[in-house]
Each structure stands twice: as structure tokens, then as C-alpha cells.
Symmetry: C2
Amino acid sequence: MARGAQLFAEKGYHPTSVQEIVAALGVGKGVFYWYFSSKEEFFVEILKSAQTDLRRRQQAAIGDETEPIRRIEVGIEESLRWFREHREMFNLFQFAVTQEKFAPILRHGQQVAVGDVARHVKDAMAEGDIKDQDPDLLAQAIVGVMSHLARTYLYERDEPVDQVAQGATAFCLHGLLG
Amino acid sequence: MARGAQLFAEKGYHPTSVQEIVAALGVGKGVFYWYFSSKEEFFVEILKSAQTDLRRRQQAAIGDETEPIRRIEVGIEESLRWFREHREMFNLFQFAVTQEKFAPILRHGQQVAVGDVARHVKDAMAEGDIKDQDPDLLAQAIVGVMSHLARTYLYERDEPVDQVAQGATAFCLHGLLG
DNA sequence: ACGTTTCTTGACCGTGCGGTCAAGAAACTC
DNA sequence: GAGTTTCTTGACCGCACGGTCAAGAAACGT
């Protein structure tokens, strides 16, 4: 299935034919339709499993941290690392959000991610580290920074993860001023 | 051409056929291929003209402002307003970045936008309002916040522009802490 | 050993696509 | 108003797509 993700990522969903997928896998077409009921379902499967994998990684990395602000930082860092290791998925995610068929799945996953961050933000507020604001908006903004910097610096310019992560967290914590 | 953009936005680029486009326009297929050499070229034309329109709006809105920080704020605000007025284009832009054929065009436009912001950031640094950091990274982060909040609050949740703009600028200026 | 279920094959089908083009209609000369 | 250029039409073409299915190979149970 990783094979399929790679193909989709290279050419895009529509331009990649089932024919090409099975050829790359070295199997007949029938075997594809034995395991998946359609090209669409196959794609959804790829998206879902990538999402859960990413979440697992985030959770695992955050596990030891107790400080909410640190949890956010580590979450950003680990997400960037995951996206770097799964270059293919970034474009696929981005494409999927734009298609009505796939958007709900993507939105759900992203809502989970935003929820995670928002929880840490709330915790930080409770501890008085962040002044009271809408936690959801802050979390959304953080996700926005993360994903845009990932695209620009990780994929287009291939810069080292740690450096990008450092820039991302610095901006999220202090903004332009401060 | 706005008609075409709408169709593409509703169904996506590939699933929208030339047949449908000309039907929606109420003309024959030949007239499409008289003015455009391919579906692809037509799409590129839509993207380019939208990009220049957005930029014009940004520049016009910023025109009177002299304070660099205010320029950034007004730029964010006006961009959000434009995206709200051209709902169709958001998905189209997002889709186009993921396709190798169209990505260069999109990247160029976005680089121009980032360049604009980065210039204001530099100015603000010169005036001592922002401490020295990489202006390009800051500008990229701002664009990231803007576009993600636009998607979430403007399109998915249909919240008022001013409120979203206020949240976006606040985060960009002060981050979580500050 | 043999029946049965689980997989695998690839030729094949109907469909709808992007793009063409012979045929004309309008609009524009002079 | 004849001649020429600028548009417009829609039937048509070749093709490649997603998906099917009859046929058979492996694997398994007994």
C-alpha cells in the first residue's frame, strides 16, 4: 500500500490508473479488486492508515513530556519528522482536502490533531503560561504554520528538520514581536 | 472564465470535462478550442488571473499604510476578504500546488506574496519593532497561518472575515505567549 | 486423493474523455 | 454584394480508463 501511495503522490490521484498500480505491484488487476472494491476505497485506506500512523508517532513522542508547552513543541517537531519520512503523504493529504469525496476523512483527522494541540493550549492556560484566548484558534494557527513550513522548507527546499522545527516553534510561541 | 473556475472548484479539475464547461457557458466545444489550446492552458489562465487579482487587491489596500506592521495586518485582512469573495479559488489553488504541472505557477505567485510580507518584516526590523530573525521564515509562517485559518474558519465554518482576521493578526504578532 | 475455498489472472466491456475538423454563420472589407 | 477573415457548431475520433468475470492455480481440510 505504501507502493500505491508513492504512485499517487508522483502523478496525482486521477492520472494514476489502476493499471499502473497493479503493474507496479507486479500483480494482476483482479487481485486489486479482490482486496479493494474500488480505486476510491483504496485511496481512502491509504489516507486513513497514514493518519493513524502520524497520530501514533505524535503520541509516542509526547509521552514523556509533562509541560504543556513542551508537549506542543515536541508535537510540532515529531510531525515535521514524520512528514519528512513520508514525503509522499503531504501532497496526498493536501490533494484530498480539496476533493469533496475525501475531504471529510481528512478534516476528521485534522480535527483530531487540532484537538490534541488545543488541549495542551488549555492546560498551559490553566497553569497561567498563556493568557486566555480561544484555544481552538491558536491550535489551528499552529497547524497552519507547521504544514506551510513543512511544504516550503522540507519539500521545496529540503532543509534539515530540526532547523525548520526550531523556526516553527519559535514563531508559534512568540510571533513577530515578543 | 469565472464560470469555469466555479465548475472546477465544485468538482475538481480532472472530473470536470470540457463538455461540461462549454455546456455551462452555453457555447459549442469548438469555441473553447478557438480561444484556448487545451483544458490545461485554460486552467492555468484561471490561476494566473486570480493570482494577479489578489495581488492587486493587497497592494491597493496597503497603499495608504506607512507603518510596516500595519501593512502586514492590512495585507492579511485584505487577503482573507479576497478569499472570502472568491471561495472557488481557494480549493483550486490548493489543488494546483499538488500537481506538478501547475505547482510552479502557484509557487511563483506564493513566492511573490511571501516576498511582499518579508519586505515589511525587514522594514519593521530596521525600525526596531521586530528583533532580528529570518524574515523569509516569518513571512512563510504568516502565510501559513492565513491560509489555514481561511480554510477552517472562512470555508468550513463560515465565520465573519473580520473576526478571523483579528485572530490571525493577533497570533502572528504575539504567538502563544507574549 | 479429492472437494472446497481462497486467491490470481488478463482479456474484455462500456463509457466518457480531450481534442479535431468539415461545414457554415457573422462580421468586416472595399 | 462578392470576397475574405473571424468565429461557432457539434458529430466524430482514438484512446485509456475503472471495473468485470470466466477460467484456473494454490492452499487447505479431511
